[in-house]
Symmetry: C2
Subunit: 609 residues, 2 copies
């Protein structure tokens, strides 16, 4: 009875806010309110007074379009005010169209792009396993509500398969199974047997046919007991109570006058934002009391407190000269493995090529302290899992693949950039110098793709000094993800490069009285420097793609083994590659594109004369 009242309060608050915004998704609010309430009242450990407590249960609304329901729930915990809820989807409001990462308000993650919430939840569960192995006092669950759409995205397969293999048993997914999606009913899109699907990847599958508190509660209890990750399929009716219930029409449009039908069904005679006192006191007696007690009981060990300190790093090692920057990078990663226990990561089945290997051995069920993660050939999943790990607390995840496959990860990189998570992307095999693998494996436009993402650091170091700078920037960053772009081939170490200068942004390698400036990064910096010396030109490193332009752009030439798209900002004249690559030995391809020193010098002479 009181549960019903709470659920109705959630429903009415949500659809009122959606009506007021004249925008939003009533379908899920009416369909998933029961599971949301059951989770929060009966299971979730989350103290609104200490929303950043490291041992809280995490809740991710992967179906981010259900934001109104989340805000309504958070209102019942006192984290969101009535006026904030009433500003739903209005400009400059914390109750944004989709949930936006905001721990102080109890919003654990930005969600909305489908499938990624599931991936981030897997990352959170991985973080919990990893930290629990080190700090016995860590012990919590990760809950998710996901939609049919989430489960159609390939990333759901990638990340749940990863969770199954790695036995992330604290992960509990509730599926709002309403047989409807935006355009059509779900049975027009898929005929899959979810039970078999989940069993095939090592999940506990639990079906809840009745959308009741009791049934859902029992399912969650069962899930908690399982030694596998759990998937609870809960059959619901989209837009329950509306005249369009059970159809796609109620998915994404405000109810308008139809709200009256819902109110009638629910026997709701009060204002749309009314909260019965009984409901408040229900939550006081359940989640608030339970979580406050858990919080008070929690005693962080010295080691945990140590881990929680965010100590910056200085990379102080000698690295061999003239080696591939992926090799220098491998050395720095080893240094970080040794010196920072919150540094954790791996690659998408390419560690032997990218040299990105985490510390303390491979993470698996027998070695949960291992910080080398085998992500498998699941680049996008890897990106989302990294986001989840970074969301957990103080972990600094790094992930790695060939630069060209940053394409597969783009949506996760974007979300990291929106949330400003300090993730390090280690992208190797950075140009047509890759050679034999041919155009499918040769990045051209990827530099432009990443440089145009807001909040993302893009670093393309030229030698071991700049590599060290890159990792100091990446590791010490608090509000930016960082992409470090590295060569497969050996490079030439330069006397003129500087770790400290690189850390600040663009900098001069040669500054003289010439009118002309060569602007370059990464593996092309060595030839640019040689030619600069021979022709007495200025040379600037843009290996760190940040800073102020201090040279005369109208008398500058940019040189990169990549698209020239975007380079006009730095130089009127642009040398690069505006077609796809070729298959053949790297050096030959480099020559073919006239990036070898001799060709380059000719091209430069032609411009400046």
């Amino acid at each position: 009875m009181i549960d019903k009242l709470a659920i109705n309060t959630l429903k009415i608050n949500s659809i009122s806010a959606i009506n007021e915004a004249n925008s939003g998704h009533p379908g899920i609010a009416l369909g998933a309110a029961t599971m949301m309430h059951t989770l929060f009242s009966k299971h979730l450990n989350f103290d609104p007074k200490n929303p950043k407590w490291i041992n809280r249960d995490r809740f991710i609304l992967s179906a981010g379009h259900g934001s109104a329901l989340l805000y309504s729930q958070l209102r019942l915990l006192g984290l969101i005010s009535k006026s904030e809820l009433k500003k739903f989807r209005k400009f400059n409001s914390i109750t944004a169209g989709h949930p936006e990462y905001n721990l102080n308000k109890g919003i654990e993650s930005t969600t909305g792009p489908l499938g990624q919430g599931l991936g981030m939840a897997v990352g959170l569960a991985l973080a919990e396993e990893s930290l629990r192995a080190k700090f016995k006092e860590i012990n919590h669950y990760v809950y998710v509500i996901c939609s049919d759409g989430d489960l159609q995205e390939g990333i759901s397969y990638e990340t749940l398969s990863f969770a199954g293999k790695n036995n992330l048993s604290k992960l509990i997914i509730m599926h709002d199974s309403n047989d409807c999606q935006l355009d059509t009913s779900t049975n027009l899109i898929t005929n899959e047997n979810l039970k078999l699907r989940m069993k095939s990847i090592g999940f506990e599958y639990i079906l809840v046919k009745k959308n009741t508190v009791k049934a859902i509660d029992e399912a969650i209890i069962k899930a908690k007991k399982s030694n596998k990750p759990s998937f609870i399929e809960i059959k619901t009716i989209i837009g329950h109570g509306s005249s369009k219930q059970g159809t796609s029409e109620v998915h994404g449009k405000p109810l308008g006058d139809d709200i009256e039908n819902v109110k009638k069904t629910l026997n709701w005679n009060r204002d749309g934002y009314y909260i019965p006192k009984k409901v408040i006191s229900l939550y006081e007696k359940t989640i608030l009391k339970r979580s406050r007690e858990a919080f008070n009981k929690f005693k962080p060990s010295k080691e945990l407190n140590e881990y929680l300190k965010n100590k910056p790093i200085k990379i102080e090692i000698e690295i061999e000269k003239n080696i591939a920057t992926r090799a220098s990078s491998g050395e720095v990663i080893k240094y970080l493995n040794k010196n920072r226990n919150n540094w954790i990561g791996g690659s998408a089945d390419l560690s032997s090529s990218t040299k990105a290997i985490g510390g303390d051995g491979i993470f698996n069920i027998n070695n949960k302290k291992g910080r080398h993660i085998l992500f498998g050939v699941r680049e996008f999943g890897m990106g989302a899992i990294a986001n989840g790990m970074a969301l957990h607390s103080n972990l600094k995840p790094f992930v790695s693949t060939f630069f060209v496959f940053s394409d597969y990860m783009k949506p996760a990189i974007r979300l990291a950039s929106i949330m400003k998570l300090p993730i390090t992307y280690v992208f190797t095999h950075d140009s047509i110098y890759v050679g034999e693998d041919g155009p499918t494996h040769e990045p051209i436009e990827q530099l432009a793709m990443l440089r145009s993402v807001p909040n993302l650091n893009v670093l393309r170091p030229s030698d071991e000094k700049e590599v060290k700078a890159a990792y100091e920037i990446a590791y010490n960053s608090k509000l930016n993800p960082t992409a470090i772009i590295l060569t497969r081939q050996n490079i030439i170490s330069l006397n003129e490069t500087s770790k400290n200068k690189m850390k600040k942004g663009y900098y001069n390698l040669i500054k003289n009285n010439s009118k002309w400036t060569l602007v370059s990064s990464g593996s092309e910096l060595a030839n640019s420097l040689k030619i600069g010396k021979e022709l007495n030109l200025n040379v600037v490193s843009i290996s760190n793609f940040n800073g102020n332009i201090t040279w005369d752009v109208s008398k500058a030439i940019s040189i990169e083994a990549a698209t020239t798209y975007g380079m006009n900002r730095f130089a009127k004249y642009n040398i690069g590659i505006n077609s796809f690559g070729e298959s053949g030995p790297g050096e030959k391809i480099y020559k073919h594109f006239k990036l070898d020193k001799e060709s380059l010098k000719k091209r430069i002479l032609k411009i400046i004369k």
Copy 2:
């Protein structure tokens, strides 16, 4: 016996070429030669004299790193010469590192980026179903060889789930199941039950434990009889015969001297490129004879011949003024539905928003003539399926989603651009004007991302005239994919825009004697034009992002509701958005970013004064 000889020939030719290139993947060549030979000798209908015959069986090597094996097989059919094979992975060779789409040489698709070959095969199978429903003489299979890596990619789940739902029973996948991948053994990456996985999505699953011609042949026969798509898991030994067989070490490095061990195991006493006459005659008696007969028997109907004519289109319809460009686009799509039967497509569960709806009803098992494809929330899969459809013959696929989710499709867009496939991407909700859905749904950097992809047309029409031009460019394109970027909100139709001028590239809306030029596209063109008139400035449309710059860039201002990254090429001064978006009503967000007419005029005045 003779089969064995053929298989050994394939193996030895492959690893010899890899050794000669000093680059390549011997593991799959030695492991998958038996299935390749079985398929080609016993089943594939493919006449090397008529490699473009529309009714040939299609074979996709999704595990593109097995290219040497494919080239060796094609050599045995007379399509690739010894000297071409010896140039494996050398510069300027058709035997590139990964297979490169080349129908004359029997290479059906560019592959390499894992998972996408599976998706393209699904597209080919969809095309076959669709065409068979219309032209009874069409009837062929689509075969794939895929690897463990292919199956870990999320796109494998997306596209196979689609194939299962749509009963694409002509699709037959052979899985080179060798329990090994690049970094490790596969059991460290996944514990999935493949049989359950495939059954869960409606596939026929067949296990072949013995890697023999007989067992594989029987499995293919069974698969052909099934009324579902089939997945044949064939247990193999990676690098069979090498001293490192069964380990990841033999995956991606040439064998070197270890080749002698293989030769010994296989009793091979001849040169590494030797082809026994018996083997040639085996293929003459099997695939060549069989396929030639099938080819000779094939009589295309008048209707099929009609379909095969690539008739260009002129869009000659009246479209209401001042409506959202997504709405104009919807009208043009209807026109194309009616006038071109090779126009086929749909959206990733967003047709009600993107207005991209194919003709003749929804494609499904009861309406295979339907040209409206329900792709589901599977953007990346949709992109790869479109590639497959375009690869089939003369289909012109269009696919659609919100512009921001082009991120999810990027790897497929890149592959379409590499292969130069004429696909139309319909991307709506193109800017922060989307509003309420917030930053996760508001494109910022996507324009730059796509404009920097080689071979890709990027069009952002401002009104219904430019929309018509965009579709004429897209549909009539033979060697380019085209992205059409459209608004959610209503726009203002302009007298000065021109369908014909837009088709040629950048063009002037106002050309007068001012030194200053405003450069703009899409929804920002209307305000730019108004201000241009008021201030007597030149105004250029870059809605079609092609052409020559004829204005003074140093006195130009670019105006787009998108990142300014890349805009310096067009204008020294750039107005745009270099942060993520905001949640709130579209108009308000537009004002917030100072893109409304009043703010814009102020900003322009500040620059030009």
